[in-house]
Symmetry: C2
Subunit: 278 residues, 2 copies
Amino acid sequence: MKNKTPQTPKKRSKVTKRPAKAHVKEKPVILITNDDGITAPGIRNLVEAVRDIGKIVVVAPDKPQSGMGHAITIGQPLRLHKAQVFDGVESWACTGTPVDCVKLAVDKVLHRKPDLCLSGINHGANHSINVIYSGTMSAAVEAAIESIPSAGFSLLDYSIEADFTGAKKYARIIVEKMLSGKLDKHTVLNVNVPLAQADLLKGIRICRQAYAKYEEDFIERNDPHGRHYYWLTGEFVNFDKGKDTDVWALANNYVSVVPVQFDLTNYALKEKLKPWEK
Amino acid sequence: MKNKTPQTPKKRSKVTKRPAKAHVKEKPVILITNDDGITAPGIRNLVEAVRDIGKIVVVAPDKPQSGMGHAITIGQPLRLHKAQVFDGVESWACTGTPVDCVKLAVDKVLHRKPDLCLSGINHGANHSINVIYSGTMSAAVEAAIESIPSAGFSLLDYSIEADFTGAKKYARIIVEKMLSGKLDKHTVLNVNVPLAQADLLKGIRICRQAYAKYEEDFIERNDPHGRHYYWLTGEFVNFDKGKDTDVWALANNYVSVVPVQFDLTNYALKEKLKPWEK
């Protein structure tokens, strides 16, 4: 069979490659991904919110990848398919996870680090402990590990018909702030937008991650063949009464911004455990 | 079809349920899971290392789940199958991710929080940034979110023929320390064991997570049908020269123990971004 690969990203050309600094005064290159898949309304709204600010390249999963956390694909190959989804915006659908999308985008699509990576807009909340399960946020964290400042955006509305007006407005405000300030290259922001009309949003609150989580419960049923199965459900419970948390901000109609880190060391416990060395 | 579910975990009986405190003076209940799958040599070695210390219950993936990070299964049902893998140890193979295993174990197998959750022994390193991609460590983190002290164990040897002698010895030492001390219920330890003969291991070092990561590279090939694919590979690079890191400890034949947290808030950046609220 003849090898036709017209829809494969271009290989890096050593002749045309420019040093990263040459891009600084040009429009910033902004990589956009998500975890709801490349056809989700949320990513379309994110592209629309910022498309005139930079050169946008989309590399997003070809199917929903919610709850994939920081999963990467090790045991299988990955594919990239040219997508015609956003007019005039280079877009690729990837068979892998959100984190795979970021890795592939940097290494095989852009052949450089973008100036910014944006993930979302997620259909549903990613506040509090959700940051750990979220494919949206894990894509943003992956970018920051790769020294690309990033932000994940989520709207507290799971509906496919969700109104993204307020989320778009604040995504743009935050991206402009990120591009105008001198942010550390490992910056990650977890941005959540309340379920409220855009004109009722009261502004931005810089927050910490609330200690709130789902009290697990699995539905137990039998399938048509009489075999038992379980399906994850659960009730969200907030154990954290602090007014500096993302859950508090959202409940009070603020857009919550939690700066996130990927050094997971518990430094206080590190000191306490020192006697174990003897 | 008749509904036969002889291999389903017993439903919780309100009559026989005892309050958690009644268990304190009994042998501790220890949940064991991993990400290499229930048939991997590593989990067998972990069970052997601690089986006389507590009442062991194994709930582990029915297939390899390396690199799954904190993924949970939302869009599909999960199943638990009774496994005959470890003589005299209650064991269940789960169709889901390592994190799913912990959630299902607590909610549907144990019907209570175990006193400790152990994950591993992983075939391969989970030091430095690997903590974020690792299914082994994500299972341990999930337990800690659920208020169950936990530890993930990894041996720096991918081989199926790996010698777990040293890893078993230190797993036991660390579990005994965990059970004898008064650890916070959210404690998570990331334990890595060097690739060295057991008698050459120099002891335990309490460490921070090194800033070291994989420089991504994807192999590009064409499949038998001429279609392009990518496969993740990459070179490990340590950017961190600190002697208090897990990478340093392992290179110097120490067992590294990194206390891990799941509050990902970057508190320093939180203060810097406060002006965004105006």
